[in-house]
């Protein structure tokens, strides 16, 4: 068992890492800025004084800072969503993207964007994404289970099927509405952080903070659920109520991330696994560490998307998928040979 003290060291280390990697991400771009001047602008903004260079201030504060914060928030949200879904289906292969929930959320978002808020009864983009995300989870859940147990193969296949269906519908709607708007289509299918603004930061950050706080209080119950429904009932967990809560929270986290940055895959798979490797299985440790590690991870990946093929910028989803698919296959292979 990892001691509580070690977890706190890890959390502190990750906070430092997040600040460092964020500063680096702000200073790197089409115009490289020295880290010192980034500090100056951010410091000036936070204290309310002027830094003296309006152009530099605009680049740092209005363009790059919100983008980096969105990357951090979304990385955190997708990682916590992954942990939530893995507890919900009691299977470590779960991830919002693999289970088709990201695609489901994209469909809801695209419906509202294309046909206006009236299309889904007056829901906003996030609300519609949430609704279709919940429907996707339920569909995957129903398709994947046999006799109350969720098998790896059925879970993955059901997720892929639901995901493809939602992606096809998203593509169709997108192309019907604006045949020339391939960029918009790419956004919902691949995900992109480019173009994030300050208005994309606040609400998602609040949603993810509230959801994570709620999950932390349910940490013991989530642990019990990993021991199986019957064992959890024996340990005093109200299994049905917890399942419903996890379904709602997992969908909400996914929908929030998707409505800001589109479908970014495999973050919710890789980060929880790396986290469990570091701190073990107890959700009271997994949740805070996964949240921070996910934030650090996506900010770092975002740096890569801007530097690998300069001056071009690549969608962040390509990178996470390129990392995530080999990881997923390795995991699948390990589980197939290692029993359980």
């Amino acid at each position: 068992m990892v001691s509580g003290t070690m977890t706190w060291f890890l959390v502190a280390g990750l906070v430092v890492a997040l600040i460092v990697v964020s500063m680096a991400a702000i200073s790197i771009g089409s115009v490289n800025l020295p880290v010192g001047s980034v500090w100056n602008v951010v410091g000036a903004r936070l204290t309310g004084s002027a830094s003296g260079d309006p152009l530099r201030e605009q680049v740092v504060w209005d363009i790059r800072t919100p983008r980096v914060l969105v990357a951090a928030v979304v990385g955190a949200g997708l990682s916590v969503a992954g942990v939530t879904l893995q507890a919900l289906v009691r299977n470590p292969l779960a991830d919002p993207y693999i289970l088709g929930i990201s695609s489901g959320a994209s469909l809801g978002a695209v419906l509202t964007v294309a046909f206006g808020a009236t299309a889904l009864g007056g829901l906003g983009v996030t609300g519609a994404a949430f609704l279709t995300a919940v429907l996707s989870v339920l569909l995957v859940y129903v398709l994947a289970q046999r006799g109350g147990r969720l098998l790896d193969s059925r879970l993955v296949l059901a997720g892929v099927a639901v995901g493809y269906l939602a992606s096809a519908a998203t593509s169709y709607i997108q192309l019907r509405v604006s045949p020339t708007e391939l960029h918009g289509l790419m956004f919902w299918l691949m995900g992109s952080i480019a173009g994030a603004t300050w208005s994309d930061v606040g609400v998602p950050a609040a949603v993810i903070a509230v959801c994570t706080a709620f999950l932390l209080l349910q940490g013991r119950n989530m642990n019990a659920l990993m021991a199986g429904d019957d064992a959890a009932a024996g340990l005093g967990t109200s299994v049905r109520a917890l399942r419903i809560a996890l379904l709602v929270v997992g969908s909400l986290l996914t929908a929030t991330a998707v409505s800001v940055v589109g479908g970014i895959g495999f973050v919710g798979l890789m980060v929880p696994h790396a986290t469990r490797f570091l701190v073990g299985g107890d959700h009271r440790r997994v949740l805070p560490v996964a949240m921070l590690l996910g934030a650090v991870f996506l900010v770092a990946v975002d740096i890569a998307t801007r530097t690998v093929d300069r001056p071009n910028e690549l969608p962040v989803g390509i990178f996470t998928t390129a990392l995530g698919v080999p990881f997923f296959l390795w995991l699948l292979r390990r589980r197939a040979t290692g029993g359980s």
Binding site: L217, D230, G234, G281
Partner: protein, 259 residues
């Protein structure tokens, strides 16, 4: 802790699986639940550990209705060893046993020194303290069952419910586990597959067939050769165990040759 089950009927998909079951376990008794596959043993146990709500009837502990308590309170009174002990993620042995503290903790409580003492003591009683930092998934089947017993002990519940605890274990481990649970001083209710285990270890037997209680009483009064033949479809012989001298039941198919 005294367990009373009275007039219990439980349904799955509107189909009654067990009907009008009565059962009593006196404090400290080891009560065995036997019956052919599909007779409703697991279903009956599930109503005791609150995984399945009975449609009629009462499960009570020392006279208090188990299904009217909050889930956590019920879990402070009875613990369970379910049939499928596998976990959905990697947990260390210590973390698995720590799950047993959940019913004693409030929403904002952290695990404190007292909890850790209970966890260590529970592992010590099942001889698994050495494995506290090992991953649960790396243990053998018998070791896993002992750890799950430790989790139940950490729950500090006076009643322990076990669903075929010796499944998939080798002979030595089976007997070791039964010796262990009988030594704990708890009230035990266990579904058992092996009639010889039931005879050797239980104080009281309840025989289920097709969801109903066929007989209940002291093992040797209940498991007469005629009765075993009727319910289980095998020929039975009751005698003294050649090694322990305790009662022993030998079974064979009706087709097998007589000496």
């Amino acid at each position: 802790m005294r367990l009373d089950i009275a007039g219990l009927t439980a349904k799955i998909d509107a189909k009654p699986i067990i009907s009008d079951v009565d059962l009593t376990a006196e404090p400290g008794q080891f009560v065995g639940l036997v019956g052919p596959n599909g007779s409703g043993k697991s279903t009956l146990l599930r109503t005791v550990y609150r995984a399945l709500r009975p449609s009629t009837g009462v499960v009570s502990l020392d006279g208090r209705d188990l299904w009217r308590m909050p889930a956590k309170q019920a879990a402070r009174h009875r613990a369970v060893l379910t049939q499928h002990g596998d976990l959905g993620a990697e947990f260390s042995v210590g973390e698995v046993v720590a799950m047993g503290r959940a019913p004693h903790k409030g929403l904002f409580d952290r695990d404190d020194a007292a909890d850790r003492a209970v966890i260590d003591e529970s592992l010590k009683r099942v001889d698994m303290l050495w494995a506290a930092d090992r991953l649960f998934s790396t243990l053998s089947g018998g070791e896993r069952q002992r750890v799950l017993v430790a989790r139940a002990l950490a729950q500090e519940a006076p009643l322990l419910v076990l669903d075929e605890p010796t499944n998939h274990l080798d002979v030595r481990t089976q007997l070791g586990l039964l010796d262990l649970i009988r030594s704990l001083g708890l009230t035990l209710l266990a579904a058992l597959h092996d009639l010889d285990h039931a005879v050797a270890y239980c104080d009281h037997l309840v025989v289920l067939q097709a969801g109903r209680v066929r007989a209940a009483g002291a093992p040797l009064e209940v498991l007469t050769p005629e009765f075993v033949g009727e319910v289980f479809g095998v020929r039975a012989h009751i005698g003294d165990h050649p090694i322990t001298g305790r009662p022993h039941i030998a079974v064979a198919s009706f087709e097998s040759p007589r000496p």
